[in-house]
Subunit: 255 residues, 2 copies
Amino acid sequence: MTEKKIKAALYLLPVGLSETPPEETVPQINIEILRQLKWLVVENLRTARRWIKRFERDIDIDSIHFAELNEHTEPGEISEMLDPLRRGEAMGLMSEAGCPAVADPGAALVGLAQREGLKVVPLVGPSSILMSLMASGFNGQHFTFHGYLPVEDGERRRKLLGLERESQKTGATQIFIETPYRNNKMMQAITETLMDDTQVCVATSITDPESEDIRTKSVREWRKEGYDYGKKPTIFLLSAGMVHMNNEKKRRNRK
Amino acid sequence: MTEKKIKAALYLLPVGLSETPPEETVPQINIEILRQLKWLVVENLRTARRWIKRFERDIDIDSIHFAELNEHTEPGEISEMLDPLRRGEAMGLMSEAGCPAVADPGAALVGLAQREGLKVVPLVGPSSILMSLMASGFNGQHFTFHGYLPVEDGERRRKLLGLERESQKTGATQIFIETPYRNNKMMQAITETLMDDTQVCVATSITDPESEDIRTKSVREWRKEGYDYGKKPTIFLLSAGMVHMNNEKKRRNRK
């Protein structure tokens, strides 16, 4: 591959979701681009350095200027992070795992770049939301990602019932996440609250060749066959509606 | 990279969104896996062959068994496509562009594989939904993808107003697509219908290094500055709510 010259842009650099080697989770071009970046805004400095080293052993990491942007960053500190790009220098944004600026504080930096008309270039990488949706077999023509559901048990069950109703009504797939140590509690709430025939896909350790596991079953089956998603990164998808194949066909024919 | 041995699974193989070389849009591992697959279910035979040839010139394409799964396929024809996997042979699924089984008929095949407890493995690749969301600066903690909106002008405007209200109420980003030749009509409906301060991101030719363009502006600015998205593949994102940074902070601290 010929070396690409990078532009004055904010490159959004995905990071792997698992211990899988970078060349198995992102395209080669991401390495080419990273090699040329001297300014990086990262969610966590230690994780970012580690990923870069795995990504490209020969990189001169001390020549990179890092800024940290995470939940501890004050809104007033964000603007100056864009100064290199304002001067015409390329920059990168990296989250702790997966695609930056989706469900992480990096979105604020991207929003600011957009408001100032600065160029933003997203790169290809692993997204547990999209990959689990692909593998679920559920409706991908209409879906909602909800992030985290409420932690309190009663509130969470009410929310789950709301998502089930929404999916029944609209046919839309409902997607949400949980912190690993609460996965089994989530599965308990799901199996005790939702209807027998509601379909639930549980996707765990996505992109990890050893432990990746993505299964779609009815609530009845999950209840009967049991589960243990103890400490693994997991994403949940719910479908209580029919996938309206005929409508989809109609829409596609408009192309 | 060491050659990975593939498993008896349905591999979901993303395809590029633009004329960009495959090595710039998917990880190396996808090529390794494709090279070992002898059974492929594809949305369009001609497009699939062309992609494979660009992907890996040395591949013996005549040794691959192809089946076509698209809007013309009858539901009763789908099951037999899984026969190789039922016998323990690895298979692949490819759509015409982007990630398979998201907004294409391949979802039916994946759904069937899941119902039979067959292994499904999604691979990394470009998704215009996720990449535009990353680059929009909008809320990625809560978003809905709606596929196509209604074609009829009055219905479409009502739908747009509904999405705006939904985003105001929940803070969720609303994402939708249109067929390229109707993009400007969509932009007209957006600029004539929505509120001045509603933010709209228009992402066009994603991953195409020459013509990719992703811009977030208020409806007021779009109206004033004009637009022309004539024949380019485009995705639209709308945000009328505040991104609830404090809530997000709270949620993230639960990790």
